[in-house]
């Protein structure tokens, strides 16, 4: 559990930790550990649990979180009351009133006192107006814990034998403090170097660095936004460089799948290019992680390219009109109930369209998986009627 004390400072943090906490770091969390913390910080990974056990945990943890937020967050409590939902013990998870992620653009939503907020995280998100999302110490520690507890989905490396090159953030994320923080968590696990591939010289340097780290370490992780990884591969192509990483590298993407200019990158094609340029043994070594500023948990892709959802998060794909869950395997608007978040009621419905699957994954693990397919894009937004929130290109 000692890992929990090693929270990296948020990148570019502009608020010092509260003084009281500076004196006795992390004391409150370590002492007040609840069922959810036991799960998040467990030695045995959550993804080894049987499906049924995951379901039970999920139900209990989310109901407990719901009770706490109804108690602590007046605006959510009012919303809950207006919605006519049954009381927390009786409500179906599908009927828990959802907060649209876009609300974070308009309102400050929190379940903790103002002084308990470690930081407000901003995300440029899909439109001009940024979202502002609060995080308290407990939420941040759980976030770190969930990364530690889930990274095993990628592989089981010896910490000392892994080096990381972090590509980014690029200019599109410079103000996106949350994205930087999540990247820093992944980076913090191992020896790492940060390089922004802002020009040809930087790309050349990254190639050289990758080559030397491949020589010196058992395993190299390159982590970055997809288009930066693609820039790097295209640069290697132009330079005629093909690395020979074999099993010795994992390429980890995080962030938007649209390039500047707005076109989406087809993921399979992307994996093929990356595997070829790095000389990987297989495309299974190209993985993606998912997070968004309003969600407190990072979702990792297994070797079958499925994103596994831990039991403290309940995910559903919902009908675009009724917001009720659609049958398993059908496209819907993705919603998350994340019990790991104590700072605000993380019961959210997002602008992402995706598919949810449960049961046994091709990787062999049991559990819930989510496939994030695309952003909601209103047809109207393409016309001459100005849909104000969408002036800027989608991420």
């Amino acid at each position: 559990m000692s890992r929990a004390t090693s929270i990296p400072q948020p990148a570019g943090a502009d608020q010092p930790p509260n003084e009281a906490e500076a004196q006795s770091p992390s004391v409150r969390i370590i002492d007040a550990r609840t069922a959810i913390d036991e799960l998040i910080f467990a030695e045995d990974p959550w993804y080894a649990l049987p499906l049924e056990r995951q379901r039970e945990l999920s139900d209990a943890l989310i109901r407990q979180a719901l009770r706490e937020h109804l108690e602590r967050c007046p605006s959510y409590r009012d919303y809950y009351a207006r919605s006519g939902a049954a009381e927390p013990g009786a409500v179906a998870l599908a009927d828990i009133p959802l907060v649209s992620t876009r609300v974070f653009k308009f309102a400050d939503l929190r379940s903790v006192e103002a002084h308990e907020v470690e930081r407000w995280y901003r995300s440029s998100g899909t439109s001009g107006q940024p979202s502002r999302v609060p995080r308290d110490r407990a939420s941040l520690e759980r976030m770190v814990g969930s990364v530690h507890g889930s990274v095993g989905l990628l592989a089981d490396w010896d910490e000392d034998e892994v080096a990381v090159i972090n590509l980014g953030p690029g200019r599109e994320h410079v103000e996106d403090v949350w994205f930087q923080y999540v990247m820093s968590l992944i980076e913090a696990l191992y020896r790492s170097e940060s390089r922004v591939p802002r020009d040809e010289a930087a790309l050349d340097e990254i190639i050289g660095l990758a080559q030397s780290l491949l020589d010196d370490y058992e395993h190299l992780i390159v982590v970055g936004p997809p288009f930066h990884v693609l820039d790097l591969c295209e640069h290697m192509q132009r330079r005629g460089v093909e690395l020979q990483a074999g099993e010795g590298a994992t390429i980890l993407t995080a962030g938007g799948w649209k390039r500047f200019g707005g076109r989406a990158i087809p993921k399979q094609e992307f994996r093929a290019v990356v595997a070829r340029q790095f000389g990987l043994r297989g495309e299974g070594q190209v993985r993606d992680v998912f997070n968004q500023v309003e969600l407190n948990t990072v979702l990792f892709e297994c070797e079958a390219h499925e994103k596994h959802v831990p039991p403290w998060v309940h995910v559903a794909a919902r009908d675009p009109e009724t917001l009720q869950p659609v049958p398993e395997g059908e496209e819907g608007m993705l919603s998350y109930l994340d019990a790991s978040c104590s700072a605000y009621p993380c019961f959210i419905v997002t602008e992402d369209v995706g598919v949810v699957r449960r049961g046994r994954c091709a990787c062999g693990r049991e559990g819930t998986r989510v496939d994030v397919l695309r952003r909601l894009e209103s047809r109207a937004a393409k016309g001459c009627a100005l849909k104000m929130g969408q002036i800027h290109a989608n991420g």
Binding site: R82, F106, V353, A380, K387
Partner: protein, 483 residues
């Protein structure tokens, strides 16, 4: 949903071309059908850029062009006209229009093509004289004539078929060759228009002047780049990226006419005639399902939004009946559901049609930054101290007012702040002759003006002698003639 594949032709100088040497572009319509359009091919470009199609049109008298459009419009007007029937069917089957909306769209196409008097009035009010494209017209101490710029490229809108037709008609009446780059959202309208021209006379210079081509937004390829480089005017409709692309891609000396994204809103005083107020607002909300830039998205309401809601609900229900909405795709429905969830969380009052065809949200103006369109009306309080000018920007196109007589004074404040058009509520879709479009008179951008200036024998208003410049210099008399 069963998927059917529909393959459209392109039109090269009036001729329907079904082959696609450069391949097809495939997309999926809102009704789930697969739609294939031919990509622009080099051989098409060779034909389009030959001198003939451009020069034959330039030599036609204006009235021959107007008469030709009228003939095409008369066909469009007839419910028996097969092209109209096919067009309506495609809007319904492919683009999900309700039959009533599809028919209305066809009627508006008939309206603009047949509106010969309106066309003459537009030429006269924008360019100065009905015959200015044919003859030298005296203007102060000169005579002026307007010549076509030459070739016009139209980056077509996908949201409003009528706008596509307007763009083509403006270019044709100013005698410009037209290359319509259609939108993947609506590739039907320009093709149907071109075919209806050929139905009138397949070899007419107007028919030959129109080509309909396709390339994916922002990716013209080598063939498209040749078209862009040869275009003297580019009319760009649509989202910000489309209009900015046009400006960047255009030849430095080409005219780029931008019809970029805009929003529109209403000011409504419903104190005296709430039913009339509601009817006008409902029309401006329902016409084209808020997909047009002139559609009202918001309304500032007096005495109070809540009091207007019953009448507005009824008026919107009436529109659901007389002009049912088009099919809403997954994303459009999702956008509205999110908006309603947000509004409810924020504690705003919301009203929804039982069948989901419309929604009303009573919210502060700041909430308008999220608007899902699709017949969703945001009603705002209108306190006595509200400055109408502060509610609009250069992005605001049309401000609709009700009642007209009472609110007309508002126009000064909103137009100073950037609004380009003020109308009576319920009239947003009617662009009257004499009015400007997005701050300009577009026909002025489609032509090159030439002038003949009066010779020296004609005195100016401020001199009573002939302009003998050499003599003035010889006698050092110039300064005398300075007023």
């Amino acid at each position: 949903m069963a998927t059917k594949t529909k393959t459209l032709p392109s039109v090269v100088c009036g001729t329907v071309v079904r082959s696609a040497p450069a391949g097809h572009h495939t997309s999926t319509t809102v009704t789930g059908h697969e739609l294939r359009v031919p990509l622009l091919a080099m051989s098409d470009v060779d034909t389009i850029l030959a001198d003939g199609p451009r020069d034959r049109l330039a030599e036609l008298p204006t009235q021959e062009i107007v008469n030709f459009l009228y003939a095409a419009g008369q066909n469009w007007k007839s419910s028996e006209y097969v092209r109209r029937r096919l067009y309506i069917r495609e809007l319904i089957n492919q683009l999900g229009y309700s039959p009533e909306m599809a028919k209305l769209e066809a009627n508006w196409i008939a309206m603009i093509l047949s509106g010969y008097a309106g066309l003459y009035d537009i030429i006269a009010s924008e360019l100065g004289h009905r015959f200015i494209l044919d003859e030298w017209i005296p203007r102060e101490e000169a005579q002026v004539r307007a010549y076509p710029k030459g070739r016009s490229l139209h980056i077509m809108p996908g949201n409003v078929p009528f706008s596509a037709v307007v763009s083509v008609v403006r270019a044709l009446v100013t005698k410009n060759q037209v290359i319509a780059k259609s939108s993947s959202e609506d590739p039907f309208t320009p093709v149907a228009l071109a075919q209806s021209f050929a139905d009138v006379d397949a070899d007419h210079p107007v028919t030959r002047a129109l080509s309909v081509v396709y390339w994916p937004a922002g990716a013209p390829g080598e063939a498209g780049e040749r078209i862009v480089a040869a275009s003297d005017v580019i009319c760009a409709w649509g989202g910000q990226s489309a209009v900015d692309w046009a400006r960047k891609a255009a030849r430095p000396d080409a005219e780029v006419v931008r019809f970029g994204p805009k929003r529109s809103l209403a000011f409504v005083d419903a104190g005296e005639r709430p039913e009339d107020a509601a009817r006008g607002l409902a029309h401006d909300v329902c016409f084209r399902d808020q997909r047009a830039c002139f559609s009202s998205q918001q309304a500032f309401v007096r005495p109070s939004p809540a009091q207007l809601v019953p009448a507005l609900s009824e008026a919107l229900d009436n529109y659901t009946e007389i002009l049912p909405p088009s099919a809403q795709g997954f994303d459009d429905r999702g956008a509205r559901a999110l908006t309603l969830a947000e509004a409810r969380f924020l504690g705003f009052s919301c009203w929804e049609a039982k069948d989901g065809s419309w929604a009303i949200i009573h919210c502060p103006p700041s909430f308008a930054a999220q608007h899902p369109l699709s017949r969703t009306v945001y009603l705002h309080d209108w306190p006595a101290d509200l400055d109408p000018g502060a509610q609009v920007t250069g992005d605001t196109q049309t401000v609709a007012l009700f009642p007209w007589a009472k609110l007309r004074p508002i126009r000064d404040a909103v137009c100073r702040a950037g609004v380009s058009r003020v109308v009576e509520s319920g009239m947003s879709n009617v662009f009257r002759p004499g009015g400007a479009h997005d701050g300009m008179f577009p026909l002025q951008r489609m032509v090159r003006f030439a002038s003949t200036e009066l010779p020296s024998a004609y005195v100016t208003k401020v001199m009573t002698v002939k302009i003998e410049q050499t003599k003035f210099l010889e006698q050092d008399r110039f300064v005398e003639f300075i007023p």
